[in-house]
């Protein structure tokens, strides 16, 4: 404990040196921009800027790249809330309630809650990272394919809480998403599925083009098709900050989101997007007023936004403690370390204490920088909504196309996005929710891979899911939740879903 604090003071002496501070600041600014631009997520941002860091020394380079990473997580929520366009994949869930809040004139509140939630999650999980990195990393390694499969199966149950209204409609959309997730190279056999001669489809449909198309662009088309031109929201200054009720409503979701996000983040191979899905479902399950979700529930913004930021720090645990990448972004950062002659691995903390602790300390600093940077920007961002739609929407369209193209220099991705925009438009005209499609698309390849890897490990024996304690526990939890879901059927009670369906009917009649 004492040693940790001593090390941390070494870290702060590194992190607060003007040069490192400057690069942390630059990283945060660039990250925020990257996050705000629709489509361009942290991976694309880091990849584009990686070569630029080759001239720096290792600590500065890593600090800057980390700044981009968590800066993008902060910035990603902005366009989700204001325009229903996910700035990066993990902000998909924020689109739902964040945008609904914005439509109610609470855009400022939603942005502020997202920023504060991200700050708390970021800071708390750095503390956890600092004290628990080595033991947690070893625990996280025990998550092999069977455990991962169980976790994802649990994640699939999230569907039940994804959207209001008809369960049948949600399931139909989820199945559509799962089917879309089948496109691409089968990673176990190398077989190309549904590629129709387009090599680019080998990697399947990207989450970002699909989400931007389904959520954002379809929204633009829907607005354009309205008979009565919608009023431009004119936010007033006193409405920028969340009310005390909103603060209270966001406190526990932030706490739960932080814990959940951090734990999911440390598991190798898992994505931030899953942490935000699970957090959203959890909040809805625990909420006393689940029917508010989808219509601007504060918890639906606070939970997922905290979770995806905590997952960012969580992802650094295996990277720093063991030198193994827990996802594509830590993998790029590990490469950046190697370029600077720092060999990442279990010995890093002893061989390069200044780098390790400087990095940790810079994360504290970075989170403060981001909060200071983002809170005043809330006012500015909200004012974007004052721009008349006939200027704003074409601009969003252009930014979306440029952003999605830039991620992998692929025109195919732009076409995917436009096709998804059309699909989203039609589906939403028919009253289908589009969020379950994205969930299905994300889960399908992971779930399939984990299942088949598990069976490859066990030579085809399904017992592997029961024999391994973590997997068995997770699957038992999933079974329990399913049973819980069946209770209303048996007791014939009226649960929130039925109430919601009734209420919706009432509205329409």
């Amino acid at each position: 404990m004492w040693e940790t604090l001593q090390n941390l003071s070494l870290g702060f002496s590194v992190a607060l040196s003007p040069a490192v501070l400057l690069y942390a600041f630059i990283g945060c600014v660039v990250g925020t921009l990257v996050g705000v631009l629709p489509g361009v997520g942290p991976l694309a941002g880091i990849s584009l800027l990686l070569p630029a860091t080759f001239g720096l020394d290792a600590t500065r380079a890593i600090v800057m790249l980390a700044g981009i990473y968590y800066g993008a997580m902060y910035g990603g929520s902005t366009t989700s809330i204001l325009m229903r366009i996910p700035g990066e994949a993990a902000s998909v869930m924020t689109c739902i309630d964040g945008y609904a809040m914005a439509r109610k004139g609470r855009a400022g509140a939603a942005l502020a809650i997202a920023a504060v939630g991200s700050y708390i999650a970021g800071t708390v999980s750095v503390v956890a990272l600092m004290f628990l990195a080595p033991p947690l990393a070893r625990f996280a390694l025990r998550f092999g394919p069977p455990e991962y499969f169980a976790l994802l199966a649990l994640g699939l149950l999230v569907l039940a809480y994804m959207s209001g209204g008809s369960m049948l409609r949600s399931l139909a959309m989820a199945v559509l998403g799962l089917l879309l997730g089948m496109i691409g190279i089968d990673q176990m056999s190398g077989y190309f599925r549904f590629h129709y001669g387009v090599v680019e489809l080998g990697d399947g449909l990207g989450v970002v083009p699909v989400a931007v198309g389904l959520f954002g662009l379809s929204e633009i088309m829907l607005t354009a098709g309205q008979a009565i031109r919608p009023d431009v929201i004119k936010p007033k200054f006193r409405e920028l900050l969340p009310s005390s009720t909103e603060w209270r409503a966001s406190a526990s979701p932030i706490a739960r989101g932080t814990l959940l996000g951090f734990l999911i983040g440390i598991i190798p191979g898992s994505a931030h997007i899953i942490s935000s899905f699970v957090s959203y479902a959890l909040e809805r399950r625990l909420s006393k007023t689940p029917d508010e979700f989808g219509r601007g529930a504060v918890a639906g913004v606070a939970g997922p936004e905290s979770a995806n930021n905590a997952a960012t720090s969580g992802a650094f645990v295996p990277m720093l403690a063991l030198g193994v990448p827990s996802g594509p972004i830590p993998a790029v950062m590990l490469a950046a370390m190697m370029v600077h002659g720092v060999s990442p691995g279990p010995l890093l903390i002893h061989q390069q204490p200044a780098l390790f602790w400087g990095f940790i300390a810079s994360m504290y600093v970075g989170n403060v920088v981001l909060l200071v940077l983002n809170l005043p920007l809330v006012g500015l961002f909200v004012n974007l909504l004052r721009i008349p739609y006939h200027f704003l929407y074409p601009a969003i369209l252009i930014f979306s196309i440029v952003g999605v193209y830039a991620v992998s220099n692929s025109v195919i991705d732009v076409w995917i996005m436009l096709a998804m925009a059309l699909l989203g438009y039609v589906l939403r005209k028919l009253d289908f929710e589009t969020a379950p499609i994205v969930l299905g698309l994300v889960l399908a390849p992971m779930l399939e891979m984990a299942l088949r890897q598990s069976l490859a490990m066990s030579d085809g024996r399904y017992a592997i899911f029961v024999n391994r304690p973590i997997a068995a526990t997770l699957l038992a939890a999933a079974a329990f939740l399913t049973l819980l879901g069946l209770v209303p059927l048996i007791s014939r009670g009226v649960d929130w879903r039925t109430r919601l369906a009734l209420a919706e009917k009432g509205e329409k009649v």
């Binding site: 190398g190 090599v199 080998g202 190798p268 827990s326």
Partner: protein, 328 residues
Amino acid sequence: MTVALTSALLLLMALAVAVPVVQAEEPYPSRPITIVAPFPPGGVADLTARPVAAAMEKVLKNPVGVVNKTGAAGAVGMQFVATSKPDGYTLLLALSSISIIPEADKIFGRQPAFTVDQFEPLALISADPTILVVRAESPWKTAKEFIEDARKRPGQISYSSSGVYGTLHMAMELLSHAAGIKLRHVPYGGAGPALTAILGGHVDALASGPAVVLPHIKAGTLRPLAGWGDKRVTALPDVPTFRELGYRDAEFYIWAGLFAPKGTPEPVLAKLRETLKQVVADSDFKTAMAKLETPIVFKQGEEFRTFFEADARRLADGVRQVGRVEQK
């Protein structure tokens, strides 16, 4: 930073402009050259391409940029270069997957995305033998014990790989064939996850590039058994090669080489070959590769062709031995 953003932007613009312009006779190079890395940033191809580009820029006094065109295990970027204008302004930094992908396409009876003879080999830049590692607490102390045990229990010892038909998979297949053993393959999505799998105890063995596993060997969590090279790895002088152990066909390298599209004019090729000779002698380039712990192995002309063809033959055999996975 603004410099980096501007240069990234310029690069994109240059790429956009570079493709359609029809060139009149003018000295080569007179506009920016693009090296396509068909894998994402941070991978072997990308990390090799960047110092190569930087050194080429110095030698040619002409901008040289790296563009990551990723997807379909590298096929997207390789196809892009195969079909781009053979004018010396679009080059490819390829790994051994350049010989694997067309072979796998053949097995599945599909229209190949590209073929090897659409490229003109320029130079081999680096070649790193893979090494076989197991966890420190596992029972096998030597490669001999490992192979004997595998022979006794066919299909019981498992290994992770970077993906089916991927480099790490091929290395193990070549060994399995040479030693007449059968191992259980669990593919992962990339070399990173494959390493995580062995550290977590989900598989028993892994073939890996030395640089990636060296820290774990030093920390005592992984044990090296043998290497696939024709010589021992410098950093691991006590670890034998499979060649020494009598498995002569188990030879495998993670290599990186530079290619141009077929049909590039001979003067341009000559200029590029001459440039690359100076690139590998460049001190900044040497430092960059040393930091990556990747040995520079420079081969050109006939020498590279021989290496490339022998490697391609071994890999083609390997892919055919694996066959179509889903039919098993």
